[in-house]
Structure formats: structure tokens, C-alpha cells
């Protein structure tokens, strides 16, 4: 049994190591002022980071990415949580239709969603509204995952609370804001953060629908991209670190908090 564990452990470790090797490499070489990736011309220095923050296009892209992600994830969290509450009293069949509707964009190939949104915006004549197009599209990206995070938490709550609040004289909206929202808050925060990450990462849909708005993935993909320049490694390193840290926090802190709240 022990021998088996060592064999599997080694295998798992090797695969994990291979998955993280490229990321580690970029983080290490983000501190190298040498032009290429090779250990022979590794020169330690922070020049890459300085270049990055002196580049206006990159700063604009970072700003746009954060702005769009914040608005989209917030909207998705609100719409999604409301929908979850709405689904509680639905007939089984209606609920099935809602879930199918929710899962469609998740299962569908991203490029098909991107292409269909191009058609939608063309049909509606939304030609130059880059921000609105992207915010709507990114809300769509975040919404399904918000539902998938909030719905199980909602099911875990005591169903009678919402009704008890109303029996005690609260209007449905009061009951929603004063009872449901505080109880669901940890799940909503988690959903917001995951939606935010998905939005910052979203490339294909963004690239098809961005008009002239630049975001982090689109400047990376752009034809005359700086992706082989040293300062690019600094950008990658920052993004990797921020995303990985955010997710570790979500996973450990929030799940612990949620447990605490539920047991109280």
C-alpha cells in the first residue's frame, strides 16, 4: 500500500511540476533584464516592471479589464442571485428550463458565443458602443458560474427564513434584502470574485466584440503585440500572482467563513 502511494505521489508531483514549470519560468525571468529566456543571459533587475508601468497602452488595458470585470461581475452577481431566489418556488419543469438556459453558454463553444454576439450587436446596430458591448458580453460570461455557486448555497439555507420574515410583516423585497442577502453574502462574494476572474481572462468573446477597447488579453493577442518583449514577462507574472492568490483566498477563507456562519 505504501509503495503504491509513493508511485502515485511521484506521478502526481511530476505532472503538477510540468504544469507549473512555464508559470514559474515566467515569474523568474520577469526579474531578468536579459532579452531572451535563457539562463546564460539572466541579469537580475526590475527594469521589466518599470517599463510595464510606463507603457500607457498597457495601463489603459489594465484599467479597462478591471473596470469591465467589476461592473460585469457585479451585475451578474445581482441578476444571478435574484434568479436563484426566484427559482426556489418554480415548478420542476420551469426550473429545468432555467438551468438549461443557464448552462447553454457554458457548454457552447466560446467561439460560437462570440460569433453569435457579433451578429447580435450588428443586428441591434450597436456599432461603436465598445464598453456596453463588452460589459454585456462579460456579464454573460460570469452569470452561469454565479448561479452555479449561489444556487447550492441557497438550497443549503433554511427555506423557512424567507417566509418567516414575510409572516412577521416584511414585504418580499424587504425579506430579500434584509434576510436573504446577508445569509447569501459569502456565496455572493465568492461568485463575484470567480466571475471577476473569468471576465479578466475572457479573450475570444472580447476579441470579437471589443470595437476599439483594449483589454489585457487583446493587447497580448494584437498583431504587433509585445508578447516577446521582456516587459511582457512582468505583466504575465503579475497576472499569475494576482489570480492565483485571489483563488487561494476564495477557497480557504470563504469556505471557512461559510462553514462558521452555517454552524452558528
Amino acid at each position: 500500500m505504501k509503495k503504491k502511494k509513493i508511485i502515485f505521489g511521484t506521478f502526481i508531483f511530476l505532472i503538477l511540476a510540468f504544469m507549473y514549470l512555464p508559470i514559474l519560468l515566467i515569474v523568474i525571468f520577469s526579474f531578468s533584464e536579459g532579452s531572451g529566456i535563457s539562463f546564460s543571459d539572466f541579469e537580475f533587475g526590475l527594469q521589466n516592471y518599470r517599463d510595464l508601468f510606463n507603457n500607457n497602452v498597457i495601463l489603459e488595458a489594465i484599467f479597462n479589464s478591471l473596470l469591465i470585470a467589476t461592473i460585469a461581475a457585479f451585475t451578474a452577481t445581482i441578476i444571478g442571485t435574484m434568479a436563484c431566489v426566484g427559482m426556489m418556488k418554480m415548478r420542476k419543469r420551469t426550473r429545468g428550463v432555467m438551468m438549461a438556459l443557464n448552462l447553454t453558454p457554458m457548454i457552447n463553444a466560446t467561439i460560437v458565443t462570440a460569433f453569435s454576439l457579433v451578429l447580435l450587436y450588428a443586428t441591434l446596430g450597436m456599432v461603436n458602443m465598445g464598453y456596453i458591448r463588452l460589459i454585456l458580453a462579460h456579464t454573460l460570461v460570469a452569470l452561469p458560474i454565479v448561479m452555479l455557486i449561489v444556487l447550492p448555497k441557497l438550497r443549503g439555507l433554511d427555506k423557512n427564513m424567507f417566509e418567516a420574515a414575510q409572516d412577521l410583516g416584511a414585504t418580499p423585497s424587504q425579506a430579500f434584502f434584509k434576510v436573504m442577502i446577508p445569509l447569501l453574502f459569502p456565496a455572493m462574494l465568492g461568485a463575484f470574485l470567480v466571475g471577476f476572474t473569468l471576465s479578466v481572462d475572457e479573450f475570444i468573446i472580447t476579441n470579437y466584440n471589443n470595437a476599439d477597447i483594449v483589454t489585457i488579453p487583446t493587447i497580448v493577442y494584437a498583431p504587433r503585440s509585445f508578447r516577446w518583449q521582456p516587459s511582457f514577462r512582468a505583466l504575465s507574472a503579475i497576472v499569475f500572482m494576482v489570480v492565483i492568490l485571489a483563488l487561494i483566498i476564495v477557497n480557504f477563507k470563504l469556505s471557512r467563513n461559510a462553514k462558521k456562519r452555517l454552524t452558528k
Binding site: K5, A83, L235
Partner: protein
Amino acid sequence: MVRKKYALFAAPFIIFMLMMVVFPLCLLFWYAFTSDDGFTFQHFRDVFNDNIAWTILGRSLWIAILAAVICLLIAYPIAYGLTMTGFKRRTTILLLFTLPMWTNLLLRSIALRNLFILVDITPGFWALLISLVVNFLPITILPIYIVLGNIDKKHLEASQDLGATPRKVFTKTVLPLSMPGIIAAFILVFSPIVSTYFLSSFFGGGGSDWRMLGELLNIQYRAGDIGVGRGSVLSLILLVLVGLSVLILNRFSKVGNKRGGLW
């Protein structure tokens, strides 16, 4: 009455999804079957008369199947090791596998290309295959992990007590019981691989040698007005491929439910 009040909460969601999901999909059908002169099959004829499109469709299918199978061959031992050999902290290890998935695909790919440059792997078939496997491995692990974790250990003890060798326990008990997870994993990775376009252009060498279905659609989109009809047809093809795989998945997961499977 109560039901209606509740349903009102879902209204923004329903309106949003109708506008952003259902209506655009209807538009795909509309543009696939119409031109300026009204109803037409011309776009379908254009796509299917094109030999290159068939070549690319075939290539996308076999590369996706190959990459998915390799993912399974690596993911199964990982999931098995985590669930069956008494690993501590297995959720943490699982988290480590899924973490890179959340960072940007482009940035990760460029990092991988840098690694390839360092160890001298040139863009082409092998680079593409490795990138696909590295990228989709996490999604492959999850369903198998869930199914293996749900297997009642008593089944294994029972087959051991009845005289099965460790190998037999695996082939006759563990493997059949984890089949729903394997099928789910295969389908979950198959559809994104078929429709990938960044990976195939970035690791395939940029030319048309390793072009895949997603990239073909991308080219139609770039072609502007002329491409809308053909692009819609290609989108519908992808839609059907993904839809079929989901249907198959549903069938198998029903079988799985009876035996304590995935969903």
C-alpha cells in the same frame, strides 16, 4: 400568487438570457439559411464543397480524440492515486491542478512557448498536442475524481474477499464503476478542443498545417460580410457537435446515477 412574486425575481435573468443567448442563436440560424435574396442553402454548399473545410473538420476530430484520450490516460492515475491510496490533503492537490486553469490562456500559452523555446521544441504537431493536454488536463481530472471518490469501498473489499486479485479488482470493479466519469471527462474536453483556435494557431506553427475548426470560423469572421453566412454555418456545425456530445453525456450519466455516478 406567491409563485408569481417569486418568479419576478428571475425576470431580469430571463430577459438577459433571452437577449444574449437565445436571440443570438436564432440569428445564427437566420444568417446560415438566408442571403440578400432570401432563403438559401448556398452557404452550406459553399462550406461543404470546400475540400479544405472537410480536411480541417477531419483533422479537428482526430486531434481532439487523440488529445482527449491522452488526457484521460494521465488524469485517471492522478484521480485514482488521490482517491484510492489514502492521500492526505487531496482537495489541496486538486486545487493545485485547477488553479492554472483560472489564469489567462494566452499568458499561460506564451509561458509554455517560452519553455518550448528553452528546451527546443518547435511549433508543430507535438507542440500543439502537448499544449492541448497541459491545458485540458485539469478538466479531465475532475469528473473522474468525483466518480472514483463516490465508489463505495465495500465493493472493493467484497471483490477481494471473493478472491479477486488486485488486478481483477481494478478491471472488474473499479474501472466499470468509474466509466461514467471517464465518458463525462472525455466529452467535457472533446468539445473545447474541437473548437479551439488560439492553441492551434499558436502552437501549430501559424500556417495551415495544423489549422482546426475554430480557426476556420475565425477566418470567416475576419473576412467580414462575405464570411457571415459561412461563419454561421460553421457555428451551427460546432453547435451540433457540442450538442451531440452533451446528449451522449446525459444518456451515460443517467446510467451512472443508478450506480451512484457523477450527477
